[in-house]
Amino acid sequence: MTDNFYGEVLTDHNLHPLHKHGLPTATCCHEGVNSTCGDDIMLNLEIKDGVIVNGSFTGSGCAVSQASADIMLELVIGRTPAEARHYKALFDKMISGGITDDELEELEEAGALQNVSKMPARVKCAMLGWRTMETLLDKEEVCR
């Protein structure tokens, strides 16, 4: 078996996240928590003229939760909130095991988390960033 338990993409995003930092220019933020695991992240987005121009997260949690949030931000920065929701829907589909090959391709690096669909105990970890983003978009007037 591979020495890299979760695969390189996941461990790399966990050890060297691209978007784990504060964001002074953020226009909105939301905290997401998995109380049983203790995963806790703060998601920050800068939304300008209907586009997510920047995003970041801070906090702590397992590799799955951290890498998943980082990969998500990589995917949604530069997109509209509607497009971000579309990715969230695809991600949901992947985790529940019903995604097509084309859709999987669309998810780019997030596809590295596909194995989580076989690890029921880790689904909550993988979903944390995504769930937090959806709640954030729901509460932001401009994104509705």
Binding site: D3, N4, F5, Y6, E8, T11, D12, N14, L15, T36, C37, G38, S60, G61, C62, A63, V64, M119, A121, R122, C125
Partner: protein, 405 residues
């Protein structure tokens, strides 16, 4: 015949290759226990303490024999001091609801060891809030050691109760309950001992310890889930109001009142878990046949092996004492840079069961300034091969998470 090894435990035949290192969460059940429970329901089942027919008498006998077995197991004076509950959590809640609500008032203090499981903290935290009493914490050092001096300093003339586990589920350290009970007695403070982690591993004698209350769970010592024990000194239990109200805990009931049954039935409202009690009896028989000395000897040897090997692995940090003798089969640990949930997931992928999280002791983890940790906990039915498989995977953890070493 029992072999007192894994082959007595059907779960290991049903899950071949499983390395089970989560015995502090719940222990596996030997065939002798499973068969005894089945035999109760096949051959002796009726509602205990009610039926005036032969089968009802049999069921009552089986249930009350289990109580006598528990009394002997923990050295209590009388079966009147043994109350069957669901588990240690319910036993501790019973004390808080019944004794606590009657005896704790505004300005009183309850002292709780900082390493207590939430089940021995939250009932007191809730009670203190309700009554305007003060909840105080006895702190240990980083190795989990509590000193007599710290206890003396923490006690005041208002301290009504002190709650501490005999063995912490995080540190695995044996606390000096006998000494603490003496100090509490001098101060007029009652002592509650949570024996959930000690009863499966060492001889527990309530009279030698001198505790006022003691609680433990059957499922952590080979018995089925859903049966637990509360020991209380007879005069204390006698003075306490019932905890739950209902059937079989009354003497007489009229339209406007009731008088309650004798001990211990006063605290056992409703149909009891006779199958569970009978299973606990079988578990005690199994433990007695193997011998707690032998259990301790085996577990010490395995703990020392695991401890020694873990110490050799860089970036692995064991929480608690630096002496394997102080761990009683419980090794809570962190691995630098690897989240405990990832640790547990990697072990799981190798068919090794370990626990990750805050182990129901969040205030302790805040105190230790660690967000969470992984824990391996063993029992006499583990063997050296289990430990070495655990160690082999532990050595690869950081590499699997993308670190160079």
């Amino acid at each position: 015949m029992n072999s007192f090894t894994k082959s007595d435990f059907p779960v290991f035949q049903a899950n071949s290759g499983l390395v089970y290192l989560d015995s502090s969460a719940t222990q596996q059940k030997p065939l002798a226990v499973l068969e005894r429970v089945e035999r109760y329901y096949r051959e002796e089942n009726a509602n205990p303490l009610r039926g005036l027919y032969e089968l009802g008498v049999k069921a009552t006998e089986a249930y009350e024999n289990a109580r006598e077995a528990v009394r002997k197991f923990i050295g209590a004076k009388s079966v009147r001091e043994i109350v069957f509950t669901r588990n240690a959590t319910e036993s501790l809640n019973l004390i808080a609801y019944s004794w606590g609500r009657t005896n704790i008032g505004e300005g009183d203090e309850v002292l709780v060891a900082i390493s207590e499981h939430h089940s021995d903290l939250l009932p007191w935290q809730t009670l203190c809030k309700e009554k305007g009493a003060e909840l105080k914490y006895l702190e240990c050092d980083k190795s989990g050691r509590y000193t007599e001096k710290a206890l003396r300093d923490a006690l005041s003339e208002r301290t009504k109760l002190f709650c501490i586990a005999q063995i912490s589920n995080v540190f695995g350290r044996l606390n000096p309950i006998k000494r603490f009970a003496e100090i509490c007695r001098e101060n007029g403070t009652l002592i509650v001992c949570d024996a959930a982690q000690s009863a499966p591993h060492i001889a527990v004698d309530v009279q030698k310890l001198g505790v006022d209350f003691l609680a433990f769970s059957g499922h952590k010592m080979l018995a089925p889930m859903g049966i637990g024990v509360l020991y209380g000194r007879e005069e204390l239990l006698e003075s306490m109001p019932p905890f739950l109200y209902g059937g079989e805990m009354i003497d007489t009931v009229t339209r406007c009142g009731a008088s309650f049954a004798e001990l211990p039935h006063k605290f056992e409202a409703g149909t009891v878990n006779a199958g569970g009690a009978v299973g606990l009896h079988a578990a005690i028989d199994y433990i007695s046949e193997l011998g707690l000395d032998e259990i301790e000897r085996r577990e010490e040897k395995l703990t020392a092996l695991a401890f020694g090997e873990m110490k050799k692995i860089p970036h692995v940090n064991i929480i608690g004492a630096d002496d394997p003798q102080e761990h009683h089969g419980i090794l809570t640990f962190t691995v630098d840079g690897v989240h405990p949930h990832d640790i547990a997931a990697i072990f799981d992928s190798e068919n090794i069961a370990v626990r990750a999280g805050h182990h129901c002791a969040q205030p302790l983890f805040h105190f230790l300034e660690i967000p969470s940790a992984a824990r391996m906990s063993l029992a006499f039915y583990n063997d050296e091969e289990d430990i070495m498989r655990f160690i082999a995977v532990l050595k690869t953890l950081r590499r699997r998470m993308g670190y160079d070493g």
